[in-house]
Symmetry: C2
Subunit: 207 residues, 2 copies
């Protein structure tokens, strides 16, 4: 299973944002929603082997985590407004603290907690910190069908998060010479993994 | 100059779409707007060396072309709604047939006509057709600072467009083993060009 964990330093864990102004009222949840599209959607299809976690660290109900699971997701549309509607409906639900993820819509889970809730849910798989100063992804050995990739938002990681991730990640990798928007980072990583997992004769047998 | 030309088979050349339902009312202009973000925006900045053309072939006012020029663009925000507002304002303007591009906002031009209007505006630079059956981009020589990349929308190219592009493009390239959404294709091509044009010591002297 491929997993992307996107950390929103200010993205609100509550549904009280305006669909007509998501960037201005949600703590830039739009940045994170674009990562869901990039991670899960291909042309006319879903990546069934991918999960995207959005870690929402912005007040007032934070920290909370939204989990989008390609294996179970339905009706996921690529446009940002549809993604925002889905997130808003999910964030209106309850998720008792300490009980992990509650399924609030097909393929969409909600948990109370921050990175701790994600780390408790991830299971095995190599952890990779995607960071602009890291080693170039292309030259590094990776399991293309199993791994966890941590991505920052438009602000990047704060010191506490970076410290925690430095301890739990085996590798620190970058996707190229420029600092890119988070969803482009996700798209480029997914493409690199596709290239390694798919043969010219078709999709590999991996999940 | 890097140029991306995104062809919207049904994207409307008129401003009469709803900001609250861009996918359902604009002929999927949302697909094209996401390509503008992927082509022009990096983390906290604009790609000044890139131009994105959106070819709008959907009735009633089509064909028309929107041109987003990174060298002159201002106030371009990454969220889809902001992009749609910019496009809607631009499409409300007039562009006399046969007179090329009219600047309707900083860095945003509008022309009457379809691919012909784009071809008349492009100037020199190798033409590349991005197509899922093409040769892998990574193995092919390209000028990373100058080139024109034609991208399809969610429908792909119709036969007439494909025929025209086959005649004017020197190369037919793909970005990987899966058929991806158009904006991810743009992001992956831009990343490949960045890798070739930027050295580890910093940005090259190229424009």
């Amino acid at each position: 299973m491929r997993r992307f964990v996107v950390i929103g330093q200010r993205a609100r864990g509550s549904p009280d944002f305006l669909l007509g102004d998501v960037p201005g009222t949600s703590g830039r949840l739009d940045v994170l929603l674009r990562c869901v599209r990039a991670g899960l959607l291909v042309s006319h299809g879903l990546r069934r082997d991918t999960v995207v976690y959005l870690v929402l660290l912005g007040a007032p109900e934070a920290p909370r985590v939204l989990r989008f699971d390609g294996a179970a997701a339905k009706y996921l549309r690529p446009d940002e407004r549809s993604m925002a509607v889905t997130a808003q409906k999910a964030l209106a639900m309850e998720a008792p603290a300490g009980e992990g993820f509650v399924t609030v819509r097909p393929g969409v889970g909600l948990a109370s907690g921050g990175l701790d809730a994600v780390l408790g849910d991830l299971g095995p798989g190599e952890r990779v910190l995607l960071d602009e100063g890291g080693e170039d992804l292309r030259g590094v050995e990776l399991d293309p069908n199993d791994g966890v990739f941590f991505v920052g938002d438009h602000i990047g990681f704060d010191d506490a998060t970076r410290g925690l991730l430095a301890r739990c990640c085996a590798k620190r990798l970058s996707v190229g010479p420029l600092s890119l928007q988070s969803d482009d980072v996700v798209a480029i990583v997914a493409n690199e993994l596709d290239r390694r997992s798919l043969t010219t004769s078709g999709r590999s047998a991996a999940p």
